[in-house]
């Protein structure tokens, strides 16, 4: 049992509310209520943030469902997805230069962050046109440089997320040929906590969940000041931030979040993700098959090896928020 916690976050449209909550004292308010201290640490490098969580530097961390599986869970760190705050509904996309349809991607070099959700999105997109990764070449490109990379003549196809996606789409010869709204609910942005820490300190979960939905209610009202604050922190303006929100399905109400956590699509999605990860060799070197890492869902459902459960999805605290018990 401890009373000081560190949570790392990264600049991304669905996670900016955390910065607002921190800066405006909402986190502190909720932490005080439960008699603990919570520090939100901004880490610019998304992977570094997860890595540091995985090695135990942070108690909780923001990451996508796929990264939660392949980094902490595959690294043997038992983790729990405490809040699923949103899913990408167009926030990730594939852009071709000049060409107009997804099938034209065949034979091209595709610049993207390898082994990330972009890679997953590409794989899902290729399935839809009966192509596979063998039909093209993936070029690992850092997310920070992908916008400028697109301006280079060598680059004809990219897969990326927002805000880079929007910056690239604004170019004249850029055509968005596929985006995550075609696979809704598969790229989920979550708050992940070490399972041990969570079990020992339910207060932490309560405080974080409470703070999160307080900000959600502010955003739901479309509070201009709050949105401007988040926009500026992410390096853009109100209009830019709003357009990013438009392609993000935020669960402003706790009810929605509870529903999503209990949906039967969630295990199906995680199965796909697990298979993709296994095929790309990122489930861990010892993984004999895609079921190697077990996952647990609300209501006791599981996927994969039940003796090796490393990733848990819970609705306990979101439900408390929905019921106003926090």
């Amino acid at each position: 049992v401890k009373d000081k916690f560190q949570v790392s976050w990264t600049i991304y449209v669905g996670w900016m509310p955390w910065d607002y909550a921190q800066q405006k004292g909402i986190i502190d308010k909720w932490a005080k209520k439960y008699d603990i201290e919570i520090e939100m640490v901004q880490v610019n490098d998304y992977i570094e943030s997860i890595n540091q969580y995985t090695v135990g530097k942070f108690d909780a961390c923001m990451m996508t469902n796929m990264d939660a599986l392949t980094i902490p869970a595959a690294g043997g760190v038992d983790s729990t997805a405490l809040i699923m705050g949103d899913f990408s509904n167009g926030n990730d996309g594939i852009i071709l230069k000049d060409k107009k349809t997804l099938a034209d991607i065949k034979g091209q070099n595709v610049n993207l962050v390898e082994l990330s959700v972009s890679h997953y999105l590409l794989a899902r997109a290729l399935e839809s046109v009966n192509l596979s990764e063998k039909d093209l070449t993936v070029v690992n490109t850092s997310d920070a440089d992908i916008v400028s990379a697109f301006t280079s003549n060598d680059v004809t196809a990219v897969t990326t997320w927002n805000p880079q996606l929007a910056a690239i789409t604004s170019a004249e010869n850029a055509n968005l040929v596929f985006d995550s709204s075609k696979i809704p609910g598969e790229i989920i942005d979550m708050l992940v906590v070490h399972t041990d820490t969570l079990n020992d300190n339910p207060k932490l979960a309560k405080a974080l969940t409470g703070a999160w939905f307080e900000v959600m209610s502010i955003m739901k009202k479309g509070d201009k000041e709050a949105l401007t604050f988040m926009a500026e922190a992410s390096g853009t303006d109100l209009a830019g931030y709003k357009s990013q929100l438009n392609s993000t399905k935020m669960f402003y109400d706790a009810d929605e979040a509870v529903k999503f956590a209990n949906s039967k699509e969630l295990p199906a999605t995680m199965k796909k993700v697990s298979e993709f990860s296994f095929e790309h060799g990122i489930l861990g070197d010892g993984a004999p098959n895609a079921e190697f890492i077990g996952m647990e869902f609300p209501g006791g459902k599981t996927f994969g090896d039940p003796k090796n459960i490393k990733l848990r999805f819970v609705d306990t605290y979101v439900k408390m928020a929905a019921e106003g018990k926090l």
Binding site: S8, I11, Q23, V41, Q42, V43, N44, D45, E48, N51, Q52, V55, K57, D143, A144, D145, V147, S148, T151, P163, Q164, A167, S170, A171, E172, T228, F229, E232, A233, S234, G235, T236, G240
Partner: protein
């Protein structure tokens, strides 16, 4: 007709010649920018001068709505603090290691291969370990600079110490110096100006590491800002920041050089001047 190598421009010509390439680059920029903007008025790669002045006004003269601070000032102060601490710690560590490494055979034999090997490790490749050891706060950023820069300075100082003529060291011993007092009165004072030179020459590397560190974990700083707006390709912010960094680097180089000349007149007396 004189040989080309014997022709010397007059003072006025020299100044004009010195400015010429800067002017050419500026003109080239304006043309390229115009051409791109004519094709696509929203092009972000080479913004027009007016776009720059707007961005500069926003960053350097208007307080941020979010924090009420002037971002540009805040970024500069944070970065310079990190750079300053990093370089200071590196310099002190380098003195503490370089002098024994150069002077004392036992230390040299024991540590020299290790320092040489260590200086070849690319720090950017072992970032996760560094962040584990130093945390994600200010210390980590300073530490990255220290780890990147210290081995360079140490090796330079070690080399310089071992170049001190044996005659001087023997003379100092016949004057009654112990190893300690010889370090204090003979070696250290001769190494100080060399240290300043070494710091000056590694400042470029220090900047690279500072920018890298800020791109990974920071909430303000020159490197952070560039990293942040790079995702939107806001060249109207990036280019002035780059110009500012270049200017600062130039300034420090100049100040340290002047300071060294001023503080250690005997040091420059021994150097070739032309």
């Amino acid at each position: 007709m004189k040989r080309l190598m014997n022709l010397r421009p007059s003072k006025g010509t020299a100044i004009f010649l010195g400015l010429l390439p800067f002017l050419l680059v500026a003109i080239m920029y304006l043309f390229a920018s115009d051409a791109r903007l004519a094709e696509n008025p929203n092009d972000k790669l080479l913004p027009a001068l007016t776009t720059f002045s707007e961005a500069i006004d926003r960053m350097a003269f208007t307080p941020s709505e979010r924090t009420g601070e002037i971002l540009f000032v805040q970024d500069t102060v944070s970065s310079l603090k990190r750079l300053g601490f990093g370089v200071l710690i590196s310099a002190i560590l380098a003195l503490l290691m370089g002098i024994p490494l150069g002077l004392i055979p036992y230390v040299r034999n024991g540590l020299s291969p290790f320092v040489a090997a260590f200086s070849m490790v690319p720090p950017l490749a072992v970032l996760p370990i560094l962040f584990i050891v130093f945390g994600m706060g200010e210390i980590a950023k300073v530490a990255l600079i220290v780890i990147g820069v210290t081995p360079l300075i140490v090796r330079d100082l070690q080399q310089r110490v071992s170049e001190i003529p044996a005659e001087q060291l023997i003379k100092a011993q016949t004057l009654g110096g112990s190893t300690w007092t010889i370090v204090l009165r003979v070696i250290l004072p001769q190494m100080l100006p060399r240290l300043f030179d070494a710091v000056r020459l590694t400042l470029g590397t220090a900047w690279i590491f500072l920018i890298s560190a800020e791109a990974i974990a920071a909430t303000e700083g020159l490197g952070y800002r560039i990293f942040l707006v790079r995702r939107y390709m806001s060249m109207d912010v990036i280019l002035p920041y780059v110009a500012w960094i270049t200017f600062l680097a130039f300034l420090f180089d100049f100040i340290i050089k002047k300071f060294t000349y001023k503080m250690f007149p005997w040091y420059t007396a021994g150097k070739e001047t032309k």
